[in-house]
Symmetry: C2
């Protein structure tokens, strides 16, 4: 399974980089291949200063070794040997009209006790929520989910709403998407079926994101809208550093910092006690993030 | 003791705001008085868009109520009633030539089991480390420590080096200073003596910071130096959101978010895999942060 996962994940990485370079039309991904002292390595692909993307990464890694005890405990495993592989994407566009996008697909093995599972997710963080585009995004994810199980979309959409929640702000990071983990725990989904689903999620990324990014990338915007984008990126940083489990896993397992933190934007801003004007698009966006919306 | 602490801490807050406004010469602190739904409240004083300070806060709070169980466990207390009061300062200057400064003094009571203690610290984060100024800063702190106990400076300087450490970057946040907590634990220092020490630390803030800020505030700087400042502020954000105990305590006890996160800068930056040029002042600064320096 390890070899097949690595082959599938690197193929997905290649296809996504190609699609995003075509969209950007200017910048190219730079590849950094690295080895992890504790075992394994990865291929970090970063794009910076593009026409569409200010900064982003489409990273592959396959690492193995000893888990820190705290994580083994969290995984309820007596074994501390692990293998983990994944593709992780975060893209920060130049324009506040183009949403931030994140995807992760991952495979995890604890060979000591014979457990293995897949996980993943895609979520969208518009700087300004557009209801029609948010609905289209969720419909694309639902179509992918429905091909595998009619329960998946509702279940994984709710999981995303819970996971991508900035508790101290009492708001979600964006309009959510899908999130799932350890599909084998608590149900009997065979690993092969999980693998098929995760590959399908990886192949859905461009279908879900390109239509929105293409439609919005040339829209005009004001300085005030750019400032709002910097503030929303600040919230993105808060989520990633305070709550994101992938980030914490990377930090705790002494992962490659520059690959883990490629998720952070070139520029982010914090200003004291910003309250959007009543009736503004900023307020409308905050209202979406403080509520719960059934998009489909 | 609660009333005396509140009187002393608000007095220190007033004096520091006054000294910093005189230094800035342009912006004034804006006061936001707030109440905490769970009990208590505070006075958040924020300065923004000044001549010297881009953003900063000098906050007082005195809160009480029920501790979340996780924190009570961390404090090894069976009781969950608490009272906490403190002054917290973070200042982000406009110029990369002026260091970021942080101070905190705090008093904590667990009335259920009769425990009470003080804690605090001051640390300096120069964007470019100047050896003479760093030494002067530490000498001022040492003089304060020495008035109370000849062991304090060495002990609390080491504690700061350990506390203000960004583990995933393998570097300290800045040139350190002093840090101490729960002075009553593991020794017999009476609460009165702790109180005297903490007041003295609060009164040392301006003496330690103003000479450096005054000397550097009008120095010229380049765009490249400004960019380096934004990157260093990114590290400051990483420390505060990933490691800072005060920030986590605030988030976990449902504190006032805008007061807790006033510590984050107007603008911060993350760029992929920045490695300073050999022999540059940026490299020299990083070398200080990766090593351990006895400044005095």
């Amino acid at each position: 399974m390890r070899d097949r996962v690595v082959a599938a994940f690197t193929g997905i990485q290649d296809a996504i980089c190609k699609g995003l370079e075509e969209l950007d039309g200017s910048a190219r991904f730079v590849s950094d291949q690295w080895e992890r002292p504790g075992g394994g390595g990865g291929d970090t692909r970063v794009i910076q200063n593009g026409a569409v993307f200010e900064k982003g990464g489409v990273n592959f890694s396959a690492v193995h070794g000893e888990l820190p005890e705290a994580i083994a405990r969290e995984f309820k495993s007596s074994s501390t040997q692990f293998f983990a592989s994944g593709v992780s994407i975060v893209l920060h566009p130049q324009s506040p009209m183009v949403p931030i996008i994140h995807m992760n697909i991952r495979y995890f093995e604890m060979p000591g006790d014979g457990r293995a599972w897949f996980g993943g997710g895609i979520d969208l963080t518009p700087i300004y929520v557009d209801h029609a585009q948010a609905t289209g995004f969720h419909q694309t994810l639902k179509a992918t989910c429905d091909r595998h199980h009619t329960d998946y979309y509702a279940k994984f959409k709710n999981w995303a709403d819970e996971y991508f929640y900035i508790k101290h702000r009492k708001e979600t990071r964006g309009i959510g998407g899908i999130f799932f983990d350890r599909l084998s725990d608590g149900n009997s989904l065979p690993l092969e079926a999980q693998f098929e689903f995760v590959k399908d999620v990886g192949n859905t990324f461009l279908k879900a994101y390109l239509p929105i990014a293409t439609a919005n990338k040339d829209l005009p915007f004001t300085e005030a809208e750019k400032n709002w984008q910097l503030l929303r990126r600040g919230r993105y940083v808060e989520f990633n550093l305070v709550y994101d489990r992938g980030t914490h896993f990377g930090l705790q397992t002494d992962g490659r910092i520059e690959s883990i933190l490629m998720s952070l934007p070139t520029l982010a801003s914090w200003q004291y006690n910003i309250i959007p004007e009543a009736g503004s698009r900023e307020e409308e966006t905050i209202n979406y993030l403080k509520g719960k919306t059934e998009w489909v």
